[in-house]
Subunit: 319 residues, 4 copies
Amino acid sequence: MSTPTRTSFDVAHLGHVEMLTDRFDESLDFFTRVYGLKLSGRDDRSAYLRAWDDYEFHSLKLTAADTTGVGHIGYRAASAQALDRRVAAIEASDFTAHGWVEGDMGHGRAFRFEDPFGHVFELYYDTRRAEPAEDDRPSLKNMASRFTGVPPRRIDHLNLLAEDVTEFRRFMETCLGSRVTEMIQLDNGRIGGCWFTVNNKTYDLACTEEHGGGMGRLHHVTYATDQREDILRAADLFLEAGVHIETGPHKHAIQGTFFLYVWEPAGNRVELANAGARLILAPDWEPVVWTEDERRKGQAWGLKTIETFHTHGTPPVKR
Amino acid sequence: MSTPTRTSFDVAHLGHVEMLTDRFDESLDFFTRVYGLKLSGRDDRSAYLRAWDDYEFHSLKLTAADTTGVGHIGYRAASAQALDRRVAAIEASDFTAHGWVEGDMGHGRAFRFEDPFGHVFELYYDTRRAEPAEDDRPSLKNMASRFTGVPPRRIDHLNLLAEDVTEFRRFMETCLGSRVTEMIQLDNGRIGGCWFTVNNKTYDLACTEEHGGGMGRLHHVTYATDQREDILRAADLFLEAGVHIETGPHKHAIQGTFFLYVWEPAGNRVELANAGARLILAPDWEPVVWTEDERRKGQAWGLKTIETFHTHGTPPVKR
Amino acid sequence: MSTPTRTSFDVAHLGHVEMLTDRFDESLDFFTRVYGLKLSGRDDRSAYLRAWDDYEFHSLKLTAADTTGVGHIGYRAASAQALDRRVAAIEASDFTAHGWVEGDMGHGRAFRFEDPFGHVFELYYDTRRAEPAEDDRPSLKNMASRFTGVPPRRIDHLNLLAEDVTEFRRFMETCLGSRVTEMIQLDNGRIGGCWFTVNNKTYDLACTEEHGGGMGRLHHVTYATDQREDILRAADLFLEAGVHIETGPHKHAIQGTFFLYVWEPAGNRVELANAGARLILAPDWEPVVWTEDERRKGQAWGLKTIETFHTHGTPPVKR
Amino acid sequence: MSTPTRTSFDVAHLGHVEMLTDRFDESLDFFTRVYGLKLSGRDDRSAYLRAWDDYEFHSLKLTAADTTGVGHIGYRAASAQALDRRVAAIEASDFTAHGWVEGDMGHGRAFRFEDPFGHVFELYYDTRRAEPAEDDRPSLKNMASRFTGVPPRRIDHLNLLAEDVTEFRRFMETCLGSRVTEMIQLDNGRIGGCWFTVNNKTYDLACTEEHGGGMGRLHHVTYATDQREDILRAADLFLEAGVHIETGPHKHAIQGTFFLYVWEPAGNRVELANAGARLILAPDWEPVVWTEDERRKGQAWGLKTIETFHTHGTPPVKR
């Protein structure tokens, strides 16, 4: 068998996630005052947020809705030509293409499409860069905005739920040219979870099996911190702010990420994570496959995965 | 002016550096016992070393010689086809191509070429993966070898010296398809330094102006640590081991890297560095340009750059 | 009610713990190779160990036995006169005095006494300082031995089990002049746990309620690390060494200590802990009293206390 | 020669420093918004500040004046009786006693006295505890106030300048019963610097030789952080806030403290420091004596002491 090598570089990186909230004011207060994102702009339904070193106008679009979960997921293409190639690939596939939309406060026209489980994606190239206000200009010109001491440096990844992770994987490989870096192989032959990347990050999107019968659900959205210490300090700040800490700080066995999970006021799960210096640089990286037996050992240092981690997604499933 | 976008993805990453030493036994003792690399193999002239999460057989080839400095620099191509494309580009250029060599203990055939300042590069695709011995197998299967508590996780970058950095930049762009992420623009119109990358790392090679009249010289080789704390702890270990600490720990203004520089026993400068969560994800990243005036402020937190940092390279210049 | 003020300064600090092991060779290998203590000396039954900045000859005496648990606990008096005053106080009390013993490889004559639950204590003043060998001399003369990169800097505290913590408290106050810094007040009127100190450390000994019907049992022995990062790194090293990680890393609500608990090969629980910059400096510190309801919240960041933490002590209770 | 043992425990800890500023509003803004202290109270000339875990009402009294430097230094006695004993010792000495003053917003009556170099000290026992407002109550009841993510946890020490450190030492031993933990022995027979403590902290006051001909001058005031990472993060925040960073982060050879020095807007030097788990627990600790030759090696990791560190004190010397 030949070793796989990475062939597509058409998608540059995860750009933003639109998160829905039915407690908009509380969620916005959480993300700006507690979690540490900056407000780039607002319109009548949404707030556009970014971490201090996100170079684009926004990496989180927080949208008032009558429910929670994910509105859409935006990836930025590597060039205008790369965007065209991706759109052609999506249109040639059997996945649902929604077609072009005009864009957003934070970027130009985008091509929308959908996975078989109801999550809407978009690809765009033209973007709007973060324009820090006078008092938000960084001292070092290689940073996007002023450092304010908060944990999140940049958007890192999100985790979606799907009933059939194998099918979701086909979607990600076909539409985004994503690589699988790690996965869980269940004893029943199904894939329990799959970690994807379009670049040298170890993952920018994870998909784990939906156990609650929901559709189009979100498991969590994550920002990266510079150091593990930032996450320990954040845990104390979340405690003081009365935020629900679900699990962590601890280290994932899969991907080796140091993590902390909390719920924002509307119930969406949000993570802070630190990957250390880990990158996937090998062009022919072969997916690391974890068995059910290996997963039973819990997280890296032995923490048992908390029950809600298997059941809680947003929006909640109506019964 | 159109915004530049990244077009070449043919080179995957920096693979290894061959470092020359005229104190082979002492250097090898330093790299294995003090600095924290693992010995993958040896032949009669060289030791092949890797950090605990370097996935290839070696990232540092330490070679006994009658002098110090850099033997050659190896980059891994993204695929066999990508290698062919790069070789064609090099051969079509006005830079010196040495042609194919058979390879090494750590990789297959490689194409050698040379910059105008005497540094030899090679490009290869076929590689040999690190094969940890039984007692070096990691507990987590997504790691290359067992974690032993030492600072270096993987090779990060190297810094070369060249009399004409502008010309060196043309070499890197032409031969490796590298991008410039940051640079120093001197008042006299010359480029004082240039930081290059072929992937999402902020840099894998830097070139700064040679002030000593040397040719083909090395400024330093660097490994990445997971946390800044690893570097602080390393400083204490270097102190105890009697290693010459040249400067640091501190934070570079350029690239924002937390750093520590020491000299290995033969005099080659070696760095430990931590970039935090910083990556260059933007496909159309425009180089950050630093002026002389900005450089006069010193490092990020005000440390003045130490004099030897401007003068010491290996091998020493004979006068 | 008048505010209590600290009156006795006769006991300087916790000096050492004698730990029993029925797997001596494995335990010694664990403490020296994995946990990171230095071997100061040996006799036919015991190994004398210290952390790199313990100023005395030993802080852990590891003794071969047919069981596990604690042999005795040694505190160092503040002066020869202070020792005499303490001995007089013990002899005047209703607690069991064993009288003077000749001392040990690590210190001079000591006065032995016993709490009502079978734990043997000793008080001594004449001590033997750590005498690092030539290759163990530190670079900085204010350190006790060479820093070798391992987590434990000095002994910190131990935790004993007693059926009646109120009575144990009376013992500690009477015999050692210890202060209570924090405690758990159970709904049934009993004290669930009590944290004691003789100096500015937040605690040097904790006593929690024995639920297993055992006598004279040990809950754990703890060494202090300089930074929380040392504990995170240690977790990875314990994982690689196949050590049983019981719980953590996490932060205690009581005392705010960042912790990690493992079992050494014979089953004795050992902790690494970091208190940050926290000290008890107030001479009239009033004990912080935690209710059962407050304890139900789990640890500081929400981790539920693991079941074995309530049941596992050494030696195991024979049934 | 008999080994010294600690005999006096009458003084519990450094309580507060009164710092003078001729730029009161800017200094107050610095200490509250940038450095991270909390405002406990104000009167017409002073602001009373504390760190989040200082248990007393204030640890820094910032006072508007026509100059900079130190107003007075307050130590808290271990009990009312201990205070009386200390006052008797001071009155019996040849040092200048000012007598009782009524106290302050943050504590009860105090006895004032003065060293031969013009620094005013006070000793008090009755104190006022920090009373956090409703929204400043900590989640964990063993903390003095809410954690807000800022670096300073508690006051740590101050550094004074004196023309004759030997005489200053006699003052500290006589009046406060302080112990010397480390000192610099100059080749000319003078003491170049002396580090004192009244408890288990490694030092709460340092005195170094005045080279500028000033009287009663302050070298710096320091707060302790929980982790070294807090100091690295603070360096970035100082950079963004335009604060003058004088030197650091680095590690002192003397006392092994990890440090960062900045100047507050009026020019007083302020430090953040982390001692790790280091404490002076030995009752018979013998002062560590550093020679001039040893001092020439610079700080622990080789940083040369910056020139202003030898010359800058407050107030500036008028010429």
